[in-house]
Symmetry: C2
Subunit: 198 residues, 2 copies
Amino acid sequence: MAAEPAPLPEPNPELCDGHDPELSPTARVILGMLTLGKRTGYDIKQLVDKSTRLFWAASYGQIYPELRRLEAQGLVRGEAVPTGGRARIEFELTAAGERALRDWLESDLEPFYELRDEGMLKLFFSDAAGPECAIATVRAMRARHERKLAQLQSIQEMADGGPPGPRLTLALGIGLTEGIINRCSRTELRLIADQERE
Amino acid sequence: MAAEPAPLPEPNPELCDGHDPELSPTARVILGMLTLGKRTGYDIKQLVDKSTRLFWAASYGQIYPELRRLEAQGLVRGEAVPTGGRARIEFELTAAGERALRDWLESDLEPFYELRDEGMLKLFFSDAAGPECAIATVRAMRARHERKLAQLQSIQEMADGGPPGPRLTLALGIGLTEGIINRCSRTELRLIADQERE
DNA sequence: CAGGTCATGTAAAGCGTTACATGATTTT
DNA sequence: AAAATCATGTAACGCTTTACATGACCTG
C-alpha cells in the first residue's frame, strides 16, 4: 500500500545551496499574478478571488506577510506609490522572481493536489442516517457545482480575449464542473428510483 | 507505555448544555468510522487511508487527540483491550455519539468543500514559461487522476458486498475521475494539435 | 534476529482563515 | 453624510502534517 508512513531517507535536493528553497504555496500565486504587471497586495487578492479561487485560494493574512518575505528573498520589489494620502505599495517581479516562477512552472515534481469534500464524506456514511440523507447530500453537491459553473461562465467573457493560460484553465474548469454535475444528477436520479422501487 | 503522567486537558472544558458545539472536521470521520464497530486509533487511520483518503484525509497527530476530546465530550467510549503486552484501546460510539453523527449527516448546512490543485494553477500561469509547459502540466494532471482511478478500482471488490454508502461513494468517485481524465486527455490532444499547427 | 506491522502518543512547525484595527478616498 | 471601496496590516486561533519516540508482536 502506498500509504503515508514511507519515511525514505530521501536525498535532500536543497543541499546544494545557491538555489531556491522552494516557493511556499502562497508565493506561487503571488508571483504568478505579478506576471500581469505591478500590483498591490489588495489587487492580488482581488485577482485571486476573481480567477483562481475555486482551485487555489489566498487570504490577506497570507498575502501581506508573504510579500514581505518574497521581498526579503529578492523575488519581488515593492515601491510605495501613494494615491493622495492613501498608502499603496506596488510590487513587481524581479529577474530572480521571474526565474523562480519559471523554475516552478517547469519543475516536474508531483504537483500538490488536495480535496476536502464533506459531501462525499456524508455520502460515504449515509447508511447511518435515513434514506433521504444520501439523496439530499448528492443534491447539495450538485447544487454547489451548479453555482460554481455559473460563476465560471460569468467570467468567461473576461478571459475571452486574453492569454491562453487562463482561457484554457477556465475551459477545463467548466468542462470538469459540467462532468461533475452530470454524474451527480445521474446518481441522484438513480437514488430516487431505488427509493421508489420499495 | 501507559501515557498517564501526561497533562490531561481539563476533563470538562465543554459546557454541558445539551447542545452540540458542532463536530470538528476530524471528529466527523472518526465517528463515521466507528459506525463500523469498535476500532483503535490505528484502525481508523488504516480505514481512512483505504477508503476516504482521496476526499477526506486524517493523520495520527489529529486522530489520537481527537479521540480523547470525543471521549471527554462523551461521544465515544474507549476501553483498554491489550493484546498480550501490547497496548490497545478500542473505541466505540456512545448513544450521544450516534446522535451527533446523525445530526451532522442530516444537517443541511452548506457542506465544506475545498480544492487545492497546483496543476490548475500552473496551467493558469503557463504563459510565463515555454509552450510545452501547459502540455506537461495537463499530462501530469491526467497521470495523477489515472493513478487515482486505478486505486479506486482496486478497492471496488472490497466494497462490492458492503453497504450502499461506501459503494455509492466509490461509484461516484470513479465516475468523476473518469470524467476528469477524459477532459484532460482532450485538452492535451488539443494543445498538441495547436502546437504542431505552428 | 531482522524487518515489518501493530499500537500508542507528543512536539513543533507550517499553512491558513477570521476577526480585528486603521484610515483615506470615492460613490451615492 | 453615509456607505462602499481601497489599502494596509496584525493577532489569535484552528487544522494538519511531519518528525520523533517507544515498545511489543509476528514472520521469514
